[in-house]
Amino acid sequence: MKTMTCKQLGGPCDLPLQGNTADEIIKLQDKHLKDVVAGSDEAHKTALKAMKGRWRNPIAGMGWYRKTKREFAALPDE
């Protein structure tokens, strides 16, 4: 189990997100962004837009995905 924050994943807050794989963390971050933006939070809107852009433009979005996987792999297990 490893932890990354919303900020480490391109968001504006320090909410910790825990998962066994980078994919799990990415899905949690996606859900977090959607939840807070649905609650009218303006600060997370840009990050949500960027997250959507990554799968809508997958080739351009690969850099972020790879970087996140590298950063996740470098974290110590908890």
Binding site: D23, I26, K27, D30, K52, W55, R56, N57, P58, I59, G61, M62, Y65, R66
Partner: protein
Amino acid sequence: MDDSEWMAGQFEANRSRLEGMAYRMLGSRVEAEDAVQETWLKVMRADRDAIENLSGWLTTVTGRVCLDHLRTRRSRREDVAGIEAVPGVEDSAADNDPAEAAVLAESVGAALLVVLDSLPPDERVAFVLHDVFAVPFDAIGEVVGRSPQAARQLASRGRRRVQGTPAFGNVHLVQHRALVEAFLRAAREGDFEALVRLLHPDVVLEPDQAALRMGSRPRTRGAEEVASALSGGARGARLVLADGLAALAWAPGGHIRSVIQFTVVDDRIAAITVTADTDRIAQLDVMTLNREVYGDESDPGPSKDL
């Protein structure tokens, strides 16, 4: 180009098809986006060497993700017990009147989603994948985790439920698509006799004003007259789904200039409407029907750029 870049490129090429598929399986744009995003995450961790047909694999993965969404959604509902009444779908149009059937066909796209929402998840997925997207039953079996024969039965049950709904009593999606495909083939080949056989004796070709300005034939009635008008045409047309039904689109450079929709009565084409009005086209839900995904060589399918 490494494997993940190649996979990303393939995903990009299939993305709009997958979104359209997910939308029809889930009936919600937001949930469809979530499903395709989930497919994307699976693509990024997939082993390219283990995938023989990536387009088919993407369809399977998206179908499974949608099925999971539907099952989760269904388990949340406490009021679902068997088939519910379908709100907003009431009386059918007169059985054999082409004009009334044309009005009916316009409402099919939106109404279909309402009816689909009443189907159990497995039936909905099997029916949409087969009847709307022509996915073969062996692939559907992989999606729903059953044999191809069981998948066929699921689609068949879904079809019966859809056709048991008054508004869909006269609409058979597979037959509709087969007629449109046969029409496209006959028109391209200039096969006058085949066209006449496909057309209802009282068929009406109905272009809108914008289509007329673009050079479309004027309003024409009768099988031989319409066949004469269209034989040898439609060379640039592509097979699409428009508001849930098979149709044709002319989209030079990937930009839709006109959409040709069909009304079927008594197993024949009873009305052909040509829409070129940009506002009206913008209101249509148009997506490609990509038949080469499963290696159908008889129809090269439409451009992915539509």
